[in-house]
């Protein structure tokens, strides 16, 4: 037993040496800016929010030789987030990116606690836990996306491509960012029906929020039921739930059914690829997540950090839209969509960010 203990101790020591060296990578630094990120629910490679934001940070850290690190909190409560923010600050990180509305209350506290640290919050702005007080300090910038414009363009593109059919929407949690995708999507379909004579239907029961972002099996079963009930295209704005939707569509497409999925947040085309080389992703309603983190870091380096501002990335500043390449869309469709996108950008066409008169 004693021998075993000695051996274990040696392993422990070796292990700690190995890890001790890990933190000394990447020495040459031009700026003293050190960029940290705390991940939201899900992993750093969620092919969505965390990943997009992190890619922007990585790009900036490469371009400007910055130090970058992310921490994954143990849970998704305010205390978990504050703890990891504190850890990053203690480790000398002075620019922290927080992707997701769940950080709103944590940042409300952190902005006062760490006045010398710059924060970027995506999809939200700092407020107190009971929503009674909204306050944004000069060390924070809040970034919103016009998801409704993104959803509008994706809905329009899909409607123009399919022309006649039944559409569905599967959301994750019923939170503003997801709701705006849904509302924009419905307006996009309606716009296509009115102005281009397409015949796209959307039934109330085919428009739902699953209630989580990680339940793959629920996504698969919901998608299966929708396709069974005659839906042709599902817009999945639902993280891991969307993984199940995509998997179900692939299964059906490979047995010859004509079903489609509209991706979300990032260009999900590669995830819908079948062995035949085709993809079941019609198009994706994108938010250029990497741009927000990248732009904010660059702004800070140039001394033009938009202190205390609430920004919105829209079609006008190319913050949202559909992917540049859409192999499943006809050229005529993408041309028409970019025309409408320009109309939205110029303000000629307004997409509402509210659900009045729409499903959910």
């Amino acid at each position: 037993m004693k021998k075993l203990a000695v051996v274990l101790c040696i392993f422990l020591m070796l292990g700690s040496f190995a890890f001790a060296q890990g933190s000394e990578e990447g020495k040459a630094k031009k700026s003293n800016l050190r960029v940290g990120m705390v991940t939201d629910a899900g992993t750093i490679d969620d092919k969505s929010f965390n990943q997009g934001t992190w890619e922007g940070i990585l790009k900036a850290s490469k371009d400007y030789a910055l130090d970058a690190k992310y921490l994954k909190p143990a849970g998704t409560t305010e205390a978990d987030y504050l703890k990891e923010i504190g850890n990053l600050v203690d480790a000398g990180y002075n620019f922290i990116v927080c992707p997701g509305f769940k950080f709103e209350t944590a940042l409300f506290e952190a902005q006062d606690k760490y006045p010398n640290v710059k924060f970027v919050i995506l999809d939200g702005e700092p407020h107190s836990a009971d929503y009674s007080e909204y306050r944004i300090e000069p060390n924070v910038v809040a970034v919103y996306y016009a998801e409704h414009e993104s959803g509008f363009l994706a809905g329009l593109a899909a409607a123009l491509q399919i022309k006649e059919g039944d559409f569905g929407f599967v959301g994750g949690m019923e939170i503003p960012a997801v709701q705006k995708f849904n509302w924009g999507f419905q307006q996009g379909i309606a716009y296509a029906n009115e102005n281009y004579g397409t015949k796209i239907m959307m039934k109330q029961e085919n428009n739902l929020y699953q209630g989580s972002f990680d339940n793959i099996s629920a996504g698969q079963q919901i998608a299966a039921s929708m396709y069974d009930r005659g839906v042709d295209v599902i817009f999945a704005a639902a993280g891991g739930v969307g993984v199940g939707v995509i998997n179900e569509a692939k299964n059906r497409a490979s047995s010859g059914q004509n079903v489609w999925v509209i991706g979300v947040d990032v260009d999900q085309y590669p995830e819908g690829v079948l062995p035949s080389g085709k993809s079941i992703i019609l198009t994706s309603a994108m938010k250029y997540l990497d741009r927000a983190s990248y732009d904010m870091i660059v702004a800070e380096l140039n001394g033009s950090f938009p202190a205390g501002e609430v920004l919105t990335f829209t079609a006008a500043n190319k913050g949202v839209g559909i992917p540049a390449e859409n192999p499943n869309l006809d050229k005529a469709v993408t041309d028409e969509v970019s025309k409408v996108s320009a109309m939205i950008a110029s303000g000629e066409l307004k997409v509402r960010a509210s659900g009045d008169g729409l499903f959910k």
């Binding site: 029961e205 039921s225 069974d228 891991g240 993984v243 199940g244 998997n247 047995s255």
Partner: protein
Amino acid sequence: MWNTLVSIFPYAIAYTIPMLMTSLGGLYSERSGVTNLGLEGLMLVGYFASAITIKMSEATLGINALPIGLLVGVAAGAIFSLLHAFASINLKADQVISGTAINMLAAALTVYLARTISGSGNVRIMMGIVRKNIPFLSKIPIIGPLFFSQSYWTTWVCLAIWGLSWILLYKTSFGLRLRACGEHPSAVASAGISVHKMRYFGVAMSGALAGLGGAVILITYSGEFNGTVAGLGFLSIAALIFGQWKPLGILGATFFFGIATTIANVSQVIPSLQVIPPVFFKIFPYVATLLALVLFSKNSAAPKASGEPF
């Protein structure tokens, strides 16, 4: 209502099968006298091992990568479960703690390995099994559309394993000895049979079957390893208790959980089910388990020596 049932039945079966396999694994282990709370972790290991195998080989092997992935998942689960077997049989450690350790280790190790090997914590395979209607059988009225349409071939493999396990455990002398190890191990030892070997077999089977369960999740409904089996392993333990440690009991219990969860998931899509709030269906399996425990705990059929080192 009938149409609704027909349309969701195949999905409920698909969801049930991984749980059934894992629960059956738990049955082997507990019947041999080793409590196995590590089923969740063992499932995860199988889930991961098959995902990484299929991802690496699907480009060259195509559809044949799927059965290979299944086998690797089974093997990985069995090997990983030997840790639990060694701790609880040779070292006579507390089996509850050892099982919990398996769960924690598996959750961390699989994500770490996934990152190291594939560069991402989410391992996506290109194509799972395509559902098919079984010729002739799916044309039988009533049971045809319920059981033989839209089915994955793994479902039938797993049901065969379930049937064979029943025969092995209840109709052979080997099965009698295995079960005796969970009831009265010293009697088995006095008959000149190695209790340790029998228990090793039981635990390794639980690992193999839980690994199979995880692999089936991957190639049927999920299509991506994402670092969690969402509590299905624990639900399988609940099904084992609810099913009173009997093969037919766990078949019923897992199917009951499977259909309740499926109804909960799809109730939002189907107008006729929308009258009942989905939260009711979601808590249903857990409440039912609690009730079953309350009702049956007096004359629980748990193997008497389960959890006792020998």
